[in-house]
């Protein structure tokens, strides 16, 4: 858990990953399918060769898929692996599960959000009606050798009788999650470390509060006078944050509301590459291993593409963008 203020927390993507992310850790990824994926951080995790990661998320897309495709992931607890219309099921995720290369435990979005909330609140579980009758409660993905070890809960979920009700009333308990590290990409961080997410927060706030360490990459670092003059807009106080990395376009090719849209051209290009093992290796060589910084990556994306996806003033997305 970080100290108050922003002092000592500002660092490069390289430093943040090398200081805080170790092989085998449980990592929670912020964002949702094609929005605000912490891509610059994900690419750096791949470049530094992290292995055996245990990824926990609700609905995830591009960052999850690249990490799985690069062989960084051993295990996932997940509600949804998809990239919207570009890949209704994330392709490297799909292939890895079909080939038995990763272990999966399925939950739903609400269940995963509640698990992060329980972790944030410091309580062991949360109750919900969601899941009753479903195979999410009947089928276990992880074997007994995984259960109860490290950050993995001893059971997937438990159904009990509502203790406040005399009549039969089953309810599902989902176990708390406390990831080792949560990685987020947001719009603004103040010089004091205050985090401001614009648009939808998804479950980012719960994911951050549930984690032991929080790494936040952002579009802009702003003065204290700016972020504190309208605190109603803020999402997390500084003391939750351990590392802050300024990376403009750090969510590309996913969208960052108010700054840029998703890059449909790149997502289509990625989809094609992901379908073929050799082409995907080439993609990684070209777009991840072959670049030494996010600036170099953006140079490859090119000014023309970056201008096309630039958000229109007052809309938050790029009006009239070619999105097929």
């Amino acid at each position: 858990m970080g100290r108050g203020g922003g002092v000592g927390k500002f660092m490069t993507v390289k430093e943040a990953v090398s200081r805080f992310i170790r092989d085998g850790m449980t990592i929670s990824i912020g964002g949702f399918t094609v929005s605000r994926n912490p891509m610059a951080l994900a690419y750096e995790i791949i470049r530094q060769g992290r292995k055996d990661l245990h990824v926990v998320c609700h609905s995830h897309g591009q960052a999850l898929d690249v990490l799985i495709g690069a062989g960084c992931v051993r295990r996932v607890e997940i509600a949804y692996g998809g990239n919207g219309r570009w890949a209704p099921t994330c392709i490297r995720f799909r292939k890895a599960v079909e080939r038995g290369e990763i272990e999966v435990e399925d939950y739903s979005n609400y269940q995963m959000s509640l698990r992060f909330l329980a972790g944030a609140l410091g309580i062991p579980f949360m109750p919900t009606k969601s899941g009753l009758g479903s195979d999410i409660l009947k089928v276990e993905g992880f074997g007994p050798e995984v259960r109860g070890k490290g950050k993995v809960s001893s059971k997937k979920a438990v159904v009990i009788q509502n203790p406040f009700e005399e009549e039969e009333d089953p309810i599902v308990l989902v176990p708390a999650l406390n990831p080792d590290v949560t990685i987020l990409h947001v719009q603004y961080v103040g010089e004091d470390g205050t985090v401001r997410i614009k648009g939808l927060t998804f479950a980012d706030i719960e994911q951050a509060k549930a984690a032991d360490v929080v790494i936040v990459s952002c579009e802009e670092v702003v003065p204290v006078e700016y972020i504190r003059s309208d605190p109603d807009q803020n999402s997390l106080p500084p003391f939750f944050v351990d590392a802050i990395v300024r990376v403009p376009y750090g969510a590309h090719p996913t969208a960052c509301y108010g700054f840029y849209d998703y890059d449909a051209g790149h997502l289509n290009y990625y989809r094609k590459a992901a379908e073929d093992d050799a082409a995907f290796e080439n993609y990684l060589r070209e777009w991840v291993y072959g670049v030494s910084s996010h600036e170099e990556y953006l140079e490859k994306v090119g000014v023309e593409s970056l201008l096309k996806i630039k958000a229109s003033a007052g809309r938050g997305y790029a009006v009239g963008l070619e999105r097929k």
Binding site: V97, G133, L200
Partner: protein, 254 residues
């Protein structure tokens, strides 16, 4: 007036749109649900509220979103929030919430599979997973399902039960502990299914113009009652015009 040309997707979107009433609170999934919900709002239900599991509540959709985290669902909303807030709306006891979902497999009781085809641990095809579908199927006041009408998708037994419909029929859903909700219609590319009030089994309610009952029986993997079926009213010129010109002029989903 001559026979109007329209596509299957247009028929499906319009048919589903007609089920949405003014004032409904609509949980919208990716793809055809977007078309149907936006069409309903533009055609006959301007007071319907569209919301997304990501937390976007009642946006003005000037362009069709490609998925539920599309920044377009964050524009001119009454509230930009997150997942827990969105599910608190879906499940709210005071709200008539209706969810629009898709799936890969469905059984006669409207239970859905969007997780895998084949055995779970080593599936033939891995699908995206529940997302919020399992949640709203359990918690919303009602849900409508979009399906491609194929034998391998309308099955006796699901490979994985992701989202609970009428479970095993009759009052089994209530006995599970789910206090409300359940599927009210299945919109396919051949017709529309409803659910029997007592048995909760799927029955054919409608077939589209030009589609025969034999075609539907052939493409359904379980026995289905067709005795109550009637022909669907085709989309009107006005409905098609709004769908094509206002909802999806870029033809991103249509």
């Amino acid at each position: 007036m001559g026979r109007m040309e329209y596509s299957t997707n247009e028929m499906m979107a319009i048919r589903a749109a007609r089920l949405i009433k003014d004032g409904d609170i609509v949980f919208v999934g990716t793809g055809l649900p977007m078309l149907a919900a936006m069409a309903a709002k533009q055609i006959h239900a301007p007071g319907a509220i569209l919301f997304f599991e990501t937390g976007g509540i009642d946006p003005i959709l000037e362009e069709i979103p490609m998925c539920v985290s599309d920044p377009r669902v964050m524009y001119w909303t009454s509230l930009n929030s997150g997942l827990i807030e969105a599910f608190s709306i879906a499940a709210h006891r005071r709200l008539r919430t209706i969810a629009l979902l898709g799936a890969a497999q469905i059984d006669r009781y409207g239970n859905l599979n969007s997780t895998c085809i084949g055995p779970y641990h080593r599936p033939k095809v891995r699908l995206p997973g529940s997302g919020g579908a399992g949640d709203v199927a359990a918690l919303a006041d009602a849900f409508i399902v979009f399906m491609r009408h194929e034998k391998r998708r309308f099955v006796e037994k699901l490979d994985y039960l992701t989202s609970v419909g009428w479970y095993q029929g009759r009052d089994s859903r209530r006995k599970l502990g789910l206090k409300r909700g359940g599927p009210i219609a299945v919109i396919t590319d051949l017709g529309v299914f409803g659910f029997d009030e007592v048995t909760k089994e799927m029955y054919l309610a409608e077939y589209y113009p030009g589609i025969s009952l034999e075609q539907i029986i052939e493409n359904t993997g379980f026995e289905v009652d067709t005795s109550r079926a009637k022909e669907t009213d085709p989309p009107t010129e006005e409905e098609l015009k709004i769908l094509r010109e206002k909802v999806d002029p870029q033809r991103l989903i249509l």
